[in-house]
Amino acid sequence: MSIALAHKPGTQFTTAVTAAFGAFAGLLVGTSQGSALIGIVLGAVALGALAWALMTFDLPERMARWAILAVVAALGLLIGGIAGLFVGLIFGWFFGWLIYWIGSGRYRMKLAPYLTPGQVLWHYTFRVICGAIFVFLITPILVVMPLSFNAEDFFTFTPEMLRFDPEGYSLKHYRDFFTNNEWQRSFKNSLIIAPIATVISVSLGTLAAIGLSQSHVPFRRAIMAILISPMIVPLIISATGMFFFYSQIGNWMEGTLGLNKTFVGYVKVVLAHAVLGIPFVIITVTATLVGFDRSLTRAAANMGADPVRTFFKVQMPLILPGVISGGLFAFITSFDEVVVVLFVGSASQKTLPWQMFTGLREQISPTILAVATILVAISIALLTTVELLRRRSERLRGMSPG
């Protein structure tokens, strides 16, 4: 603290930096109001003057920041209505914070005291760049959510939405999703296909992973390569191969075995998806088994348990987190998969992603955005589950969860 205070920059520095930010903000506001140049000058002058005044007269910080917030928000309301008010609130908060953050030297507090000004500048520039990349990563997903409440059939924000007019928002796209037959059927198909495919890949995959982690497995590398291959081969190629193969299998099952066409369609898609999910199960479960203490199975055998009992009572509970997260990966692979089902399935096996894909290609309705929001919620739930499982398994293995 004392060091930071010792480094409290001069009023001139604070004024200059704040004026630069003001110029930038002025540029944004200015261009939207017609003249960029006036905006830059006004912004720089206003912010510079404000910073100079605050630093020189040493006003109480809390009061000054509230005042700035109120004034800028009012200005925003005046210029741009409700949306302007929000921009104004953000700007006002930011500038109040910025002036004191720089003016009182708080910006150097967490940094090593020997850094040169250039290094400090780079440090914060780097943070801003990273922040921009994070924005790039997350914005598309966040933008979808409010748009899904659009009252109009547009893929963009309507003026009503920007005015935060309740008229501009509605749940009609969600209602459409839950009442429209086609969406419901595809959702149901996804809920049929994905769990069955997951069960197949998890049960077979776990067994194989246990086999692979024994100490003497002939051709281990070759076997591993084959089992991982569905993940390596691009989906379009898998889909092409499966398209030829499963149409023959389907004809055979319908012709020779005399099975129902719809049933055969589901079998084909489920098998194809199960294969795609297998590498994920194999990878996660073998990774869990690496940390498995094999003296535990020996102890169980020593005490008279047969291999099956040992597996269910000793090994399974310990590797369960790995199995579950492998299963979640397999589930999401199938739930999210569209290329293979597009090639292998027929219209009666239309899954949710397939429906979305056709919707996007033909641009039918923003119901897609409502579905997307639901799917994001599902993926957040899945992500949380996997993360909790990971922590649990690391705790069991005696590592710090971090």
């Binding site: 944004l28 109001q33 290094q119 760049i129 990349i133 994070f134 790039f136 990563l137 914005t139 598309p140 997903i141 979808v144 748009l147 893929f155 963009t156 924000f157 077979l204 995959g205 067994l207 194989a208 246990i210 086999g211 024994q214 100490s215 003497h216 497995v217 002939p218 390569a225 084959i226 991982i228 569905p230 081969v233 691009p234 379009i236 190629i237 092409t240 191969g241 499966m242 030829f244 193969f245 194809a272 199960a274 297998i278 990878i283 094999r294 055998a301 990966f329 739930f335 999210d336 569209v338 290329v339 090639f343 992603p353 979305m356 996007l360 290609r361 799917l375 994001v376 993926s379 992500l383």
Partner: protein, 588 residues
């Protein structure tokens, strides 16, 4: 048993110190013969009296079998439902038995024709073609062959389709004078009696089976079952061509159409066949049913000139009188062809060997090039955007880094279609980015940026989608770089830049390599995103594969394109395995 299993001579890979201890204990117990009763020079014995070596080998074998038994169900499942389809696709990229299956007689005849003098093929080729084509048209397979050959020469498809309809003309023209000679020639029953021979006459079943075989190849249906007909041996020897044509008709009519042979008029092919046979046949000694009809025809044969098949084909379409069509058929008659692969690299198989496609059809090499270039751009932008993030995550305190990691993992876990649709919403002309820019006044309302349905859209969306695949491997590598190295470099007087460039960066290169290959491999096989945001300029080779599978139905070409793509990906994976090892793939 587990104690012993780890101690075989060839199993030095004791997995844990724990095992080693057991091993040592077991060896100490058993390797010191003086303490335990076995003879000093004899084999070391296990507890149950068998030699230790054998006992160990048995235990090892048991363990191997158990491991394989556990793996077997999955391995078989993956082999059947994944490896076999891929292998089948590879085979389909060279397979080409459609020509020789549909035109089984024409292909050997054509093989003897020397196309280099620019003339037409000899009459036997036309004759074989006539019967082959007629049969294919009856089985409705001629259009399929036409479609196949149309990939090589435009126009063949319609030529085949039209010819299929007009092939009857030759037979009808002959039938007219025949009917004038004896009305029975136009009836079903007399033909059946003539061909079957007298009751109890010897039957030429070999000819029947030969024709059945050949029909099977054309129709691709089993054609099993009794048809209640076989040509009599006498007729088969006397009128070989006619017997053949009638047998084809008989098999097809009974088994495919399910009609009564004795009540169905034969196909038009029997008439030219009959006339041709009768030119030379000696029917004087024939005593079977309907001998009178035959003898009357023989007497008046002078009025029936031998049928000219080449003239018939020329009548059907002038294209048959030009050598190009025949050359194309001859060139693509082989059952295993490099033609699809040549097509995949904008070349074609011509009678003179491989040649470049006409300029207007050359798109695939360009598409391959574009796929590679765009994948490289996507990879590059992923490195540029991913490196700072990975660096930040690796150098922040664990707790903060984990929170920020969620921002990376959330897109990773979100459905691909959600992200693609989000980019569609963001990038389109009435989309969020354009709206914001217009609202800010940076872009005029009438000149909104075109950011979707072009390469830019594909690159932005795919960079976003693949970025987590770059960040995660980089992050896991950077986590292992000890911070003390950087501190050491700085304390030795290096500047920030030197420290980064000479000390930190080289250690992070494996992460960049791993992430780059992963992203690149994923990018070149992408289909969904380019399809939705790529328009026509931003599509990849995979979109072309999908197009050939579902729209143009040129499956051979799709398979060839897929094979090339697969080869590239496997090569890259081999590199990936060399650099990082496939076992080190980590998820989330």
């Amino acid at each position: 048993m587990s104690t012993v299993s780890g101690t075989g001579p060839g199993t030095a890979d004791a997995p844990s110190p724990d095992d080693a201890l057991h091993e040592a204990a077991a060896l100490a117990d058993r390797d010191t013969p003086p303490r335990h009763g076995a003879a000093p020079d004899g084999p070391v014995l296990a507890a149950d009296g068998t030699p230790l070596k054998r006992s160990l080998a048995r235990a090892l074998r048991l363990q191997k079998t158990r491991a394989l038994m556990l793996i077997a169900p999955l391995l078989i499942f993956v082999l059947i439902s994944f490896i076999v389809p891929i292998a089948q696709m590879l085979w389909r990229s060279v397979e080409n038995d459609i020509v020789s299956n549909t035109l089984p007689m024409t292909v050997p005849e054509l093989a003897q024709w020397d196309a280099s003098d620019g003339g037409l093929p000899p009459e036997p080729v036309f004759r074989a073609m006539y019967y082959d084509m007629f049969l294919a048209a009856e089985a409705k397979k001629h259009t399929r062959l036409g479609t196949r050959l149309n990939y090589e020469q435009t126009g063949i498809s319609s030529l085949f389709r039209q010819s299929g309809r007009k092939l009857d003309d030759l037979g009808k023209d002959i039938l007219k004078p025949l009917r004038a000679l004896d009305g029975d020639w136009a009836q079903a029953a007399p033909w059946f009696e003539l061909m079957s021979g007298a009751d109890g006459a010897a039957k030429d079943t070999a000819a029947l089976e030969a024709q059945r075989d050949r029909l099977r190849r054309v129709t691709e249906s089993p054609l099993a079952g009794e048809i209640g007909f076989a040509p009599s041996s006498e007729i088969s020897a006397l009128l070989p061509l006619t017997a053949q044509a009638y047998t084809d008709f008989a098999i097809f009519t009974v088994l495919e159409d399910g009609k009564d042979l004795a009540k169905t008029k034969p196909w038009e092919t029997v008439y030219p066949a009959l006339i041709e046979d009768m030119q030379t046949a000696d029917v004087a000694g024939y005593g079977g049913p309907r001998a009178g009809m035959l003898q009357a025809l023989r007497a008046g044969i002078a009025e029936f000139p031998p049928p000219s098949y080449s003239a018939a084909f020329a009548d059907i379409d002038a294209d048959w009188a030009a050598p190009q069509v025949w050359q194309t058929i001859q060139t693509h008659a082989r059952t295993v062809t490099p033609g699809y692969f040549l097509n995949a690299v904008d070349m074609q198989l011509t009678p003179d060997g491989a040649a470049a496609q006409p300029e207007s059809k050359q798109i695939l090499v360009k598409l391959f090039g574009r796929t590679l270039v765009m994948s490289l751009i996507i990879m590059g932008s992923c490195i540029l955007l991913g490196y700072p993030i990975a660096y930040l995550l690796a150098n922040l305190p664990m707790r903060t880094a984990n929170v920020l990691l969620i921002l990376v993992l959330l897109p990773f876990w979100t459905s691909l279609l959600v992200r693609t649709s989000a980019w569609k919403v963001m990038l389109q002309q009435q989309g969020v980015i354009n709206d914001t820019l217009v609202w800010l006044g940076l872009v005029a309302d009438e000149s909104r940026l075109v950011m979707i349905n072009n390469q830019f859209g594909t690159i932005v969306a795919m960079t976003h989608i693949l970025l987590p695949f770059m960040i995660l491997p980089m992050y896991s590598v950077m986590q292992t770089i000890p911070p003390s190295y950087v501190r050491a470099a700085k304390s030795l007087g290096a500047t920030n830049w030197t420290t980064f460039w000479r000390v930190y960066f080289p250690q992070s290169v494996p992460g960049i390599g791993a992430g780059s290959i992963l992203v690149f491999i994923l990018a070149i096989g992408y289909y969904i995103t380019p399809e939705i945001v790529g328009g026509t300029k931003g599509v990849f080779i995979s979109n072309r594969i999908a197009y050939h599978i579902s729209s143009s139905l040129n499956w051979g070409l799709a398979a060839a394109l897929g094979t090339i793509l697969l080869a590239v990906v496997l090569l890259l994976y081999w590199c990936y395995d060399k650099i990082v090892g496939i076992d080190n793939v980590k998820l989330g």
